[in-house]
């Protein structure tokens, strides 16, 4: 895919937004209702940013428990995402969902899911439903989900029915505290697609341009009626599994190696090298995004708690 200054700005803004948002969550956890089980995507921003770049209006996106970035990248208002995390009345889901259940239908984000692997079947069904309108369903999950029955049952059915669904695996090498090698002998998640003749690719998940190219090709494949595609993005989470996890199960050197591959800083360098953005642009993006975010956090904080009557509303549609 081609890239131009506008596109580069968009990608960098999105990644910066996710990074800054997650850092804010990290530093304010425990304050003002911000708590629960919070999984940050610091280090994995490139995947969400790239996917949002290639998703179209008729498409629908599902993500897993580590989903703030996907909601934001697709256009959810940061202050409402923050309000949802804080359990406020103006939250994306009026405070009822929380970090693992963000939904933003207006932006095609059918939502985050707290059950590992459980979103893959949902995406298949949605793909079936939106196929007549030219839509593609995208579902994002971790490498841990690839050992769940859902993943395999779904690969089989998606291939059989040639569903327009793109399975995006954020392979960060760990499921909670356990490295992938303790969960499977299969090194690459993409390997599973071969069995079904499903198009698959494995990319450097910290290279936003590589992810964007691969995602675009995957969605095009699915949209064109050629059936599902699997896209594996090799990446790393810089934080513990959830906020509160000291992550003592990882070697410091491993973390340090990945810090070198920081996707946000890396794309900032690339964008300046290629002349899409100046160093000043990059700095301004960071500054502007953080300023905007500070206001968003304020606004979220000022949002009231949901009324008690909300408790029994929305049980039925």
């Amino acid at each position: 895919m081609t890239m131009d200054p506008g596109g580069a700005r968009r990608l960098l803004e999105r990644m910066t937004l996710i990074r800054a948002f997650e850092e804010t969550v990290q530093s304010s956890i425990g304050e003002g209702g911000l708590g629960g089980l919070v999984h940050l995507s610091i280090g994995q921003e490139a995947v969400a940013a790239a996917l949002a770049d290639v998703v179209q209006g008729a498409d629908r996106v599902y993500a897993g428990h580590r989903a703030h970035g996907h909601a934001l990248a697709l256009g959810a208002e940061p202050w409402r995402v923050m309000a949802e995390l804080m359990g406020k009345a103006d939250g994306l889901c009026r405070g009822k969902g929380g970090s693992m259940h963000l939904v933003d239908v207006a932006h095609g984000f059918f939502g985050a899911t707290g059950v590992v692997g459980g979103n893959i079947p949902l995406a298949l069904g949605t793909a079936f439903a939106i196929r007549p309108r030219g839509g593609v369903a995208v579902v994002v999950f971790g490498d841990g989900a690839a050992q769940s029955g859902y993943f395999h049952e779904s690969l089989n059915i998606a291939a059989l029915w040639r569903l327009p669904v793109v399975l995006v695996c954020e392979n960060n090498g760990y499921a909670e505290f356990t490295p992938r090698s303790a969960h499977t002998v299969v090194e690459r998640v993409a390997r599973h697609a071969e069995t079904y003749g499903v198009r698959a690719s494995t990319v450097d998940g910290n290279d936003v341009l590589a992810v964007r190219d691969a995602a675009a090709a995957s969605l095009e494949h699915a949209r064109g009626g050629a059936g599902p595609a699997l896209l594996e993005c090799l990446t790393y989470r810089m934080r513990g599994h959830y906020e509160g996890d000291p992550a003592g199960y990882r070697a410091a050197s491993e973390v340090a190696d990945w810090r070198e591959k920081d996707p946000v800083a890396r794309f900032g360098r690339v964008a300046t090298e290629r002349g899409w953005l100046s160093a000043a642009d990059v700095a301004a993006i960071d500054r502007d995004v953080r300023a905007m975010l500070a206001q968003a956090v304020d606004r979220a904080r000022r949002s009231p708690d949901p009324q008690a009557s909300e408790l029994t509303e929305d049980v039925h549609g």
């Binding site: 059918f110 069904g125 949605t126 049952e153 929305d314 049980v315 549609g317």
Partner: protein
């Protein structure tokens, strides 16, 4: 008047709804061939394989797919061949379908229907004979229908399909071939009980196969001088509690009959509600009739002993109706 079986009524209701609304889809194992009981026979021929979707043996994923279809605006009707296999699909049903509307703050609706066959009596053994409706009653967000007649099987299914929430229709496999005179199939509203027999001396609340058993018990009880009222709630969520409670207020006694094991069955909730709302009217505790707390045995002699029936219901009634009323 035409004579129709429960299964034929289900089949016709599905066809009617599919004709009426192109978003209705049928999905499940072997549904294109009609399934083992024939509930979906002929649908693939009429509506094509694009709307009658045969799936691999992947209940969990199929339930999730149907949920994903519903979230995107279709009206899928999933068949889980035996309710025993709902155990493989509870995650999607309970964690996704039932909660989608709530967790999204009302952004998503999930007009999903699940059809499944419950019940013992066919010597199928412990893994093909359970009655698990009590689990579903305990899941906020789900609605739950338990039809006992062909008219209700069709009518509740039609209402379920038109409802914007996930609804589970628990069919009873022994009732599938029950015949009744039935001309027009029409929606039966969710949440309205049917008084199957009016009576003055005791209220029998019975579901699914136990409705006929309760009616048979009521006939027997006439010779005891007991005039029993038989109420079929038809849906457990929503529950038409008013009809039950006002009956009990009149009859002053209540027996609840279901096929599932007693412990933690739907009779527990019904008994708890009745005593809560009508204890002052009760001459005796609410009695419950159900299976013993054991898996369903395969042997005919044991399975017949397992399934509660008219005799147990009549005995329970005799235990609660005060002699002064006879």
């Amino acid at each position: 008047m035409a004579e129709r079986t429960y299964i034929a009524a289900l089949r016709e209701a599905l066809a009617l709804e599919m004709r009426r609304d192109a978003t209705v889809h049928v999905i499940g194992e072997d549904v294109a061939e009609g399934g083992p009981f024939g509930a979906t026979k002929g649908l693939a021929e009429e509506f094509g394989r694009g709307r009658v979707l045969d799936t691999p043996i992947s209940e969990g994923t199929v339930m999730g797919m149907a949920t994903g279809m519903a979230l995107a605006g279709l009206r899928p009707v999933v068949e889980i061949m035996f309710i025993d296999f709902l155990t493989l699909a509870m995650d999607q049903l309970v964690n996704q379908a039932a909660k989608a509307c709530y967790m999204s703050g009302g952004q998503l609706a999930c007009p999903l229907v699940v059809r499944t066959a419950a019940g013992a009596g066919r010597r199928y053994g412990a893994q093909h004979s359970q009655s698990l409706e009590a689990w579903l009653m305990h899941v906020p967000g789900l609605k739950l229908a338990v039809p006992a007649t062909a008219a209700d099987a069709a009518g509740l299914l039609m209402s379920a399909i038109r409802d914007d929430d996930p609804v589970v229709v628990v069919e009873h496999k022994i009732l599938y071939y029950r015949k009744e005179m039935l001309d027009v199939l029409e929606p039966v509203p969710l949440g309205r009980a049917a008084v199957r027999r009016a009576g003055r001396d005791v209220t029998i609340v019975a579901t699914a196969r136990m409705v006929d058993e309760a009616l048979a018990a009521a006939e027997t009880l006439r010779s005891d001088g007991i005039d029993a009222e038989v109420i079929d709630p038809r849906t457990l969520v929503p529950l038409d509690l008013d009809t039950i409670v006002s009956s009990v207020r009149r009859t002053r006694s209540c027996v609840i009959a279901h096929e599932a094991p007693l412990r933690g069955g739907i009779g527990a909730e019904l008994a708890a509600l009745v005593q809560e709302h009508a204890i002052d009217s009760l001459d005796a505790p609410v009695a419950r009739v159900g299976a013993p707390d054991v898996p369903v045995p395969a042997a005919p002699a044991l399975e017949d002993a397992y399934i509660p029936g008219r005799a147990a219901i009549a005995a329970a009634v005799r235990g609660v109706v005060s002699p002064s009323r006879r």
